[in-house]
Symmetry: C2
Subunit: 302 residues, 2 copies
Amino acid sequence: MVNPMGFDFKGYLGEKRVQVDSALDEHFPRADGLTAELIEAMRYSLFAGGKRLRPILCIAGAEAVGGAGEQVLPVACALELIHTYSLIHDDLPLMDDDDLRRGKPTNHKVFGEAIALLAGDGLLTEAFSLMTSPYAIKNIEPASLLEVIQIIAVAAGCGGMVGGQVVDMQWEGRNAEFETVKFLHTHKTGAMIRASVTSGAIAAGAQASVVQRFSSYGYKIGLAFQISDDILDVEGDSEIMGKKAGADEEKGKTTYPSVLGMDESKKIQDALVQEAVQDLKVFGEAAEPLRQIAYYIIERKK
Amino acid sequence: MVNPMGFDFKGYLGEKRVQVDSALDEHFPRADGLTAELIEAMRYSLFAGGKRLRPILCIAGAEAVGGAGEQVLPVACALELIHTYSLIHDDLPLMDDDDLRRGKPTNHKVFGEAIALLAGDGLLTEAFSLMTSPYAIKNIEPASLLEVIQIIAVAAGCGGMVGGQVVDMQWEGRNAEFETVKFLHTHKTGAMIRASVTSGAIAAGAQASVVQRFSSYGYKIGLAFQISDDILDVEGDSEIMGKKAGADEEKGKTTYPSVLGMDESKKIQDALVQEAVQDLKVFGEAAEPLRQIAYYIIERKK
């Protein structure tokens, strides 16, 4: 791992994960009453051992421009809510029909399909509630907050994640062209990863020219992340990943390795990460977490 | 119909419906490309002949405090997107498993379950994109816009519509107590109807004390609307409604008529509408559309 400053990346990730987890726990306390099962279902997937990559990107984006993690926490948590909803809906029998996620039974396997659907709907909706909560309004400028919501909604919507999901589904079992695979990768996963880092910077008050650099960085690591997902599906260890390797080939999904080969895919992924790191040059030490996240994407095992 | 001022209510509804429809059409143009079917699925349900009750309540709320319909159009349209998403997900086989909606095949019957799920997800997400679009930001004060998003997200989320859906589903086929039915009615439908009128007033710049009156009006007509739904399910004409009457009894749903009897349900509904109209007294002629909407709720046939 490239780490010239001896930055304690593992410690950083651990600390931010705790910060995000306790904020999520506070926002979704266990509840009695008529909607107790809904809340339980949301918490089940929310606390199923996610890496918190998107919230940490948001916090690191804010810190890179002089903001604080506490300031952008509602945005960071909202990103995780949206990510979690997308996983729950994606796992449903009518979509990917997956039984395991992060080594645990998927939401609908535990709570049934109807509750899983509604838990997903609830998580997506609560993301926007959280971003306009009194805490968010107190800590983020109104104009910046509106811009953040716009960026996240666009990245999660039809021109972003949902659009990517549709293409993913429609092309399953068919030979897709490279341009289609690239669309899928930059939309299904990439758009929200890019929005995570830019929203953090914007929430912390960054100017448009600065945000542009994070946007470029985010685009590249988002694409690299999805390529690494493809690579892990071929070379990864099912036990470490908590999900079955080889699923892409089984389902007939067109991936970077299946179109370009494994060597070329790794080359592209490496180049994307190197270029992403270049985008951060002007920010110096403050952007070290973002640099380490870029390297981590290539090296991750799950 | 009580209409002392001879207000052309039918003309008003028609005019606003056209205004909302053309704004929705503009925001979701037909599209070529990889996500064409997604957009088509969203448009299918969006233009399936809805009454546009929620957007019109929003516009009427804005007009009652001196605002203009054009000003709050993004909010009005967002409410319809959220309403439409909830119908698509509700009709899915894993929920109510309905084949017909407004006399037409339901979304998943035409586009398949996966696209229907994603069309719903897309509509919900685009609602928040629309409310933070350049048009919205140009026409609504930032602080008001954030308050509007908060109110709508809370009304659509776990403490509102999604929570109501969960209770609706969990109590199907079981004898629910009156308090449970009231929770269901005020959450599943009532919360979004209430948010529709208050969000319009807030977006147009109304003060908190004024908004309180709309909130009270909205709560009452929201509950009255759901009671009238129960009544129509017993007494309504399937052909006019575009859906099968008697479905509640068939599914074993506890409703106002099934718990309190038909006469008592109608009495409660009438009283709610009368009280709602009282809430609007101070607004004079500017609130006439909202008064007519309250009366319409009792008299509607679909």
